[in-house]
């Protein structure tokens, strides 16, 4: 029961896949077309390595991730670093946090916030 209205908390959407929020290091970008992370020096690395088959990488703000970093404001550049690593259903995202954090392009990997309605 919610403390406010006495209503039952609204459930999370059914069928939402497990996912991890990844922040890339500064100077790294995710190339959607090549499905790899690319550094400003041209180094490439896969974000999906070691993840369950069928995992997807989706930029949190696609238009920022695709834009020339020089055209972005400081906060837009920050947004461009965020990726969702969407795992196959049934996966346990916490199992992949360690591996993701060890990727050379990753600054941090976290479980997503548990979102609800402030009713």
């Amino acid at each position: 029961m919610l403390p406010v209205t006495g209503r039952k908390p609204v459930p999370l959407p059914k069928g939402m896949p497990p996912y991890v929020v990844v922040r890339l290091k500064r100077g790294w970008r995710y190339s959607e077309s090549r499905r790899v992370c690319v550094s400003s020096e041209g180094q490439e690395t896969s974000l999906c390595e070691g993840l369950p088959r069928g995992s997807r990488i989706v930029p949190v703000v696609p238009h920022a991730a695709r834009a020339d970093p020089k055209s972005l404001s400081k906060h837009e550049q920050n947004l461009a670093r965020y990726m969702h690593v969407i795992l196959r259903k049934g996966s346990v995202p916490s199992q992949y946090l360690g591996a993701l954090r060890e990727r050379p392009c990753v600054e941090d990997a976290q479980l997503p916030p548990e979102i609800s309605l402030p009713e």
Partner: protein, 482 residues
Amino acid sequence: MARKQAEVGYVSPGISPPKGPDYIVMELRHDSRVAYSPTAFAGPTEVRKDTDALNKVLSAFRVKRVASHFGMKATQIRRRVTAAPPSHDRPVSGEFAHAGFVQIIPRRKEDLAALTRELNRLDSVWKAEVAPRPVPAPAPTGSSTVSRNFEPAQGYLHSPPNGIGAMEVWKQARQSGTGRGITICDIEGNWNRLHEDLPKRIPLIGGTLINDLGWKNHGTAVLGEMVSRPGPSGTVGISQGARAVVQSAVINGVFNTAGAIANATSKLGKGDVILIELQATGPNGKYVAMQYWDDVFSAIRVAVDKGITVVEAAGNGDEDFDLPIFNNTGLQKDSGAIVVGAGIPPTNFFDYFGSEWGFDRYGKIGVPRSRIWFSNYGKIVSVQAWGWHVTTTGYGDAQGGVSQNRWYTLRFSGTSSASPIVTGSVACIQGLAKAKHGQPLPPKKVRSLLISTGTPQEAGPGVPLSQHIGPQPNLPEVFRLV
């Protein structure tokens, strides 16, 4: 909490007809010296013809019972024989007159009409008629074609210090004070965009809807506070002249609040307003505002930099944002958003359901405009608004029925109910600024005006002013300065 939903429109309690047999009320002529018992009529010899005729009819219709209509005693009925005047038009006592009213109950309901006809033919009878079956005056029923008017329950629209003074500014500033020319984007998960009291064709500008009634009711209630249409029924939105759009926080099948804000930012312009109607669990296991997360914080900054005012629910975690655990997080930095806490409204009482979450049924909540017990608080919380029992669209506890399009609530609460009050206020201010100066105010100017002119926060038992949620907007004062 299980709450019975009301029927649409006015409610009829469903009156069933009274029990008991149908009967005839017969009035004997005053000058007829006839008396009666439960089984027969009787009288002196000279009225034998009359009594025989009456008894013949009773016998022919197998009458079940004869009784005094006014419950007179046998002695009072017998007195008719001696007290009868020589003609019917002579004055008689009330007791005599009452004694002449006879209830005749046939065995068969089908005989009522014929029996009445036969009785009316007799010389000793003044009048006989089937007794009407009384029913209470009919109440208006659920077939009402229009919804009730809930505006009188929207106290948050009223003048400060109780409300935000929306009604005052509508009157002062006409159309420009209702948010005309401003677009509001609500970010959450679902809405009933077909609700009768909301503007038609509110567009979903991004994301996918969460297919759940709880999410749908919540979004509907939020929109109702801001943009429900004025009229003789339903509710009226604070910024009823504003345009509303909605953005789901679910993108690519997962929650992406930052992406939702960024998408809304790309589709809105300077002076428009984004409302973030979400919270999430923080490091202490309590709900916190979404700007705690760095990507959300950045997305808000981008929106504010574009001239879009962002309003954000502080969340219902009873959390102190000024704790050391939040150092260097978005809860102690200025994102540029107006963060909204929940205050106790002047209505200030729990209702019957108060006991269901551990409070006194019908007890007082606390001091009006003090922090309500669940609201988050801290330096970044800019302003407060009603966090309890806000009347708006959705849910159906005030008016329910088959169609969700006619549902209304008296009980929308939390920082959820407080945030749209502030969002609507912002839209009114920006509408006025645009109309008056040709351009909207910078978001931080809107925020500072709301803070500097607002009706101050109050302290209450266990909720000192140090638990900061800020003042409640005072639109008439802001309008004076814009």
